[in-house]
Symmetry: C2
């Protein structure tokens, strides 16, 4: 089970990678992941890895691929389920773990050579994220609980690598009514303080259940 953990830092989309400290891949960088224990549901594995690595629970996680070429790993036949996770830069604390020498956020556009087919997994995970984000506002999972419309727009622009018209974007988002105006302003900014919003998850879930999509092109 491998996990492509996405995070936003400034204007960059990052992926969390770990450097192995032992075994045949010592010193090499890789995706966080683990073998599926026989006493644990596969579906629970991502949460376990996430919790260990970041201390976070209830993280947005989704399966996007399964890779099972006979020689994708050198020493034996390994099939892996690939999940992507979206975490908010707000409040995680990285925990290196015993087998990791180092752990690092790396820019999605500047990933070093990883073990096995992990570069390919990241590419596919990124494509899966982009595909999903164009239909559903899952990117809020990458933002703090309260965020500005500018942050929200930048999130789309960063991930999808597009430019959006601010006026039209705001019109569209506010009309959909899936954001809640907190009536609070961001503090300590050296210019006009922007308004803060939270994501209206209940409203969005209701709409989604009715077949609604928030398409961004």
């Amino acid at each position: 089970m491998d996990c492509v953990i996405f995070g936003l830092e400034g204007d960059e989309l990052k992926v969390l990678l770990i450097q192995h400290d032992e075994g045949p891949v010592e010193g090499q960088w890789a995706l966080p992941g683990d073998y599926v224990r026989f006493d644990i549901d596969l579906e629970e594995m991502p949460s376990i890895v996430l919790k260990q690595l970041t201390g976070l629970e209830n993280v947005f996680v989704e399966l996007f691929d399964v890779l099972g070429k006979i020689n994708r790993v050198t020493h034996q036949r390994v099939i892996t389920a690939a999940y992507f996770a979206l975490i908010s830069t707000e409040k995680y604390e990285l925990k290196k773990g015993l087998e990791a020498r180092d752990i690092k956020w790396m820019d999605i556009h500047n990933i070093p050579k990883l073990i096995y087919d992990h570069n390919e997994i990241i590419n596919r995970g990124y494509e899966a994220l982009k595909l999903k984000l164009r239909r559903e506002p899952v990117g809020v999972e990458l933002l703090p609980r309260q965020f500005t419309l500018t942050q929200f727009q930048k999130m789309y622009e960063t991930i999808l690598d597009i430019k959006l018209d601010t006026r039209n974007f705001r019109k569209k988002i506010l009309k959909e009514d899936i954001l809640i105006d907190t009536n609070q302003k961001e503090l300590n900014v050296p210019y006009r303080a922007p308004n803060l919003y939270t994501f209206n998850a209940e409203k969005y879930d209701t709409l989604k259940a009715k077949g609604y999509f928030l398409n961004i092109y």
Copy 2:
């Protein structure tokens, strides 16, 4: 590896199921599938199963889920990759195979109790198909090579369980220019003979590469 094989028969979406003839699940109905052999890429398994079962090659196949609860299969821990396949009712010939007592197309809305979590797998496969079909015209894979606009529309209506306005639907499809008019008419019909079209796969692939989607609501 399990495979939800979809086919259209008349106005019904069907799933291909097999009845086991031996082992602990003798007599019970199940999804076609197989254990992943150690000398074969997981990704090739669906094609192998499809070929054995229907004689068809180059079938549309896509991964939609992985199920790995520790007790999903009674006798041992089995993780399965679930694929769905779309086959044209035109030209397959079912081959029972040695381990199958019977093989049958069953209406998606009337599936009997299957082994393990196979009913759940079918439900998820159906949801994945609907989700995909609302964005991409993958349903052509279920039609004969040449098909009428009425067939094309009915395909959407059957799978998505919706009614579409014929005039608007045709306008939209023809404008998109992803169908090729063969200038042939269907033969042996006791009424006005409808025009036949083929799917313009090259054109569609080009559009898709540019980020185009054919949304149907």
